[in-house]
Subunit: 114 residues, 2 copies
C-alpha cells in the first residue's frame, strides 16, 4: 500500500477526519478523542492506529513526569504537506487542459469514427 493510499484511506472515514479536526486545535488524549466523537475506546484505538500508520498523527513524546498511561496525540504537518503536493500537481495542468480541450475533442471524435 503506497503512502498516498494510506493517507487517503485514513481520511476517508468521518471519525478519523473528526480526530484531525480536533487535533488541529490542540493535542489530545486518546480517551478525549473517543468521548468527543462518541466512539468506544477500542474503536478509537483502531482509528488512531490507522492514523498513526498513515503518518498524519503521532503520539507525542511525553514529558518525563507525566502519567505514562496517557497517550497524547497530535498532528504531523509533514504528511499534510505531501497531500498538498499531490493536489498541487493535479491542479497545475488545468490551464493546459483547458487550452488544448477543443483540439482534443476534435481528435477524439475522429478516433471514435474509425
Amino acid at each position: 500500500m503506497s503512502a498516498l493510499d494510506q493517507t487517503f484511506t485514513a481520511l476517508a472515514d468521518p471519525t478519523r477526519r473528526g480526530v484531525i479536526d480536533l487535533l488541529r486545535k490542540q493535542p489530545r488524549r486518546a480517551s478525549d478523542l473517543a468521548d468527543a466523537l462518541g466512539a468506544s475506546r477500542p474503536a478509537m484505538s483502531k482509528h488512531l492506529r490507522i492514523l498513526r500508520a498513515s503518518g498524519l498523527v503521532a503520539t507525542s513524546a511525553e514529558t518525563q513526569d507525566a502519567d505514562a498511561r496517557v497517550r497524547v496525540y497530535s498532528l504531523k504537518p509533514a504528511k499534510f504537506g505531501e497531500l498538498r503536493d499531490w493536489l498541487d500537481q493535479v491542479e497545475r495542468f488545468w490551464a493546459v487542459q483547458l487550452e488544448g480541450f477543443a483540439a482534443h475533442v476534435a481528435r477524439t471524435v475522429k478516433k471514435a469514427r474509425r
Copy 2:
C-alpha cells in the same frame, strides 16, 4: 455519506488516482483509461462510476456528430477546490498549535495526574 467522504474514498484507490493523473493531462475515453491502467472494462466502469459520484470527474458533453458510444471523461476542478479548502482549514491552525503547545502539555500532564 458526506461529500468529503466520497472525495477521499474515491481517491483512496490507486487505479482511481491513476485515472485522475491521466485526466490531468487531457480528457480520455473510458477504454483508453482501462488500457492505460491495465484494468478490465467492467472494473474501470465501476471505478468511473465512483469517480463520477464523487464529482471529481465528468463525462464530457459530446460534440453533436461524435460517436455516441464513446464516453470521454474529464476532471471537474471544482471538487479539487473543495479538497484544497479542507486542507487549508486544517493547516491554518498549526501556528497556533505550536505556540500553545508547551502550555498544553503542562495542562495535560496535570490532568493526567488527577
